[in-house]
């Protein structure tokens, strides 16, 4: 049980770089947007 740190997410940005780039998401007018 972590006492000092609470991690809010399981984000893995690197994984999205390797698996992403399909180009199907909205490309048009922040992207902080839905993905696959």
């Amino acid at each position: 049980m972590e006492k000092h740190i609470k991690t809010l997410n399981k984000a893995n940005l690197k994984e999205t770089a390797v698996k992403g780039g399909c180009g199907e998401c909205q490309a048009s007018c922040t992207v902080a947007q839905k993905c696959k």
Partner: protein
């Protein structure tokens, strides 16, 4: 890189290159300064000295948790994304802003499009140009299924017959070409009637309803050509559209200026009027104008964003459904890192088309012929300009290189960069600061709502 900040009682560590967000106690918030990309399992001796108000055992315990996060790749993750910067260089065009009208029935004081005319003659797009634009998008979107078309202006409802015919034309092509069109529309609402509401609610994937909030705020900046405000005319029409829209996306979209830095009141006013999907944007205008936001306004704006974040937490915890566009953030998924390198991808995957068929990198570049990329009627398309935008990523924007927010803002709006600094690669610091504050608030809200 780690960005750390305290807000609303939460100590937050954002690990920039993994995207991990940690909420930590006061000790850990200070202790993280003694960690680095090459941290080891042993607590640094300097930490005991600097944090002598804590016991060694407690410091070791906190450090061990930081080291665990490091081992998991969620603390001091490496910046390993430049190798992906050339992906999408040859991406297909798949989104289009269709300037269906270069005319408007309002004369908004802050309009970037010169009150609808984009600095040129006032005109409407013909059915022929609109169909050619759709043909262009289908032809250029090789390998893409999802295509976006935004009906924009000026005021699109002034040319609604062509809007309907364009949608009908594109829908008829979907099956043949294996495309899925997602239409959106941005309107001031003046010409809304039952027929238009039905069509918009049936065909538009999203719609943006321009209203600035409180009557006195809206009417000061959004008069008609006779100088009369539009609030009382548009509010009931927007309410009717939203009431009939069901679960489909929409935004009541406001602009705030120096005249209403208490813009939270406009958000809450719109919520009281029945709108729960809300967006409020800072005005983009010549700094010399009275209503333009100045650097000295930033502390007041930051205060307002923080107050809004706290209010929204309170409302959400009370079970109210309200969504503020710029505080939306998906910490678990969101867009992939490839998308984050470029953001909107204007000029590369996204273009705007004028009533005369001219192609520009986006709606904000329309009217500046230096950026004209071609024309849908004669089939010209300047791939050199496309390449210039394709190479525009957070890795060749010098000011973004050391910025913690770059995977969220994607280097800012290229058009705003050009307008303010004469260079699409130079972000405008005033906008950067506002974006960073919104992100800090958005992440803090996630922490508060996870409690």
């Amino acid at each position: 890189m780690i960005h750390k900040y305290s807000l609303n009682g939460y100590n937050i560590l954002l690990d920039v290159y993994s995207g991990a967000v940690h909420v930590v106690d006061d000790l850990t918030y200070r202790l993280v300064d003694f960690t680095s990309e090459d941290m080891t399992k042993e607590t640094p001796a300097a930490a005991y000295e600097a944090l002598s108000d804590y016991g060694e055992e407690e410091i070791d315990e906190s450090y061990a948790e930081l080291y665990e996060a490091f081992e998991r790749g969620q603390l001091h993750a490496p910046d390993d994304y430049e190798q992906f910067a050339n992906m999408m260089i040859n991406a297909s065009v798949k989104s289009m802003c269709l300037n269906i009208s270069h005319d408007c029935n309002l004369a908004c004081e802050y309009c970037f499009a010169s009150k609808g005319g984009f600095g040129g003659e006032r005109c409407l797009m013909s059915e022929e140009v609109a169909k050619k634009a759709i043909d262009f998008l289908i032809e250029k979107s090789v390998g893409r299924r999802n295509l976006e078309v935004d009906f924009f202006g000026g005021e699109p409802l002034m040319n609604f017959d062509v809007v309907k015919k364009t949608v009908e034309y594109a829908r008829a092509k979907e099956q043949e070409y294996g495309k899925n069109f997602r239409f959106t529309i941005t309107t001031n609402g003046l010409l809304l009637d039952d027929d238009k509401i039905d069509f918009i609610n049936k065909e538009m994937h999203n719609c943006v309803l321009s209203i600035d909030g409180r009557k006195e705020v809206n009417d000061r900046m959004r008069p008609n050509w006779g100088g009369k405000g539009c609030h009382d005319l548009i509010l009931p029409k927007f309410q009717k559209l939203v009431a009939q829209r069901g679960d489909k996306d929409y935004y009541a979209r406001a602009t705030y200026t120096r005249y209403n830095l208490d813009f939270m009141q406009d958000i809450l006013y719109l919520y009281e009027q029945g709108f729960d999907q809300l967006s409020e944007e800072p005005v983009v205008s010549d700094p010399k104008l009275d209503f333009s936001i100045q650097e000295e306004d930033l502390p007041r704006i930051f205060e307002e964003y923080e107050a809004l974040a706290k209010k929204l937490i309170e409302m959400k915890k009370a079970g109210e459904k309200i969504n503020f566009f710029h505080f939306m953030i998906d910490l678990n998924q969101g867009p992939c890192a490839i998308r984050r390198l470029r953001g909107c991808s204007c000029g590369n995957e996204y273009v705007a088309v004028t009533p005369h068929g001219d192609i520009f990198p986006c709606h904000q570049f329309v009217g500046n012929d230096d950026w004209k990329m071609g024309n849908v009627l004669d089939g010209t398309f300047n791939v050199d300009i496309k390449k210039q935008f394709a190479k525009t990523t957070i890795y060749n924007k010098e000011k973004c290189r050391d910025c913690w927010a770059r995977f969220y803002c994607s280097g800012g709006c290229n058009a705003a960069n050009f307008e303010k600094n004469g260079d699409i690669l130079k972000p405008y610091p005033l906008y950067c600061e506002m974006e960073k504050k919104r992100l800090e608030c958005a992440i803090m809200m996630q922490a508060a709502l996870a409690d």
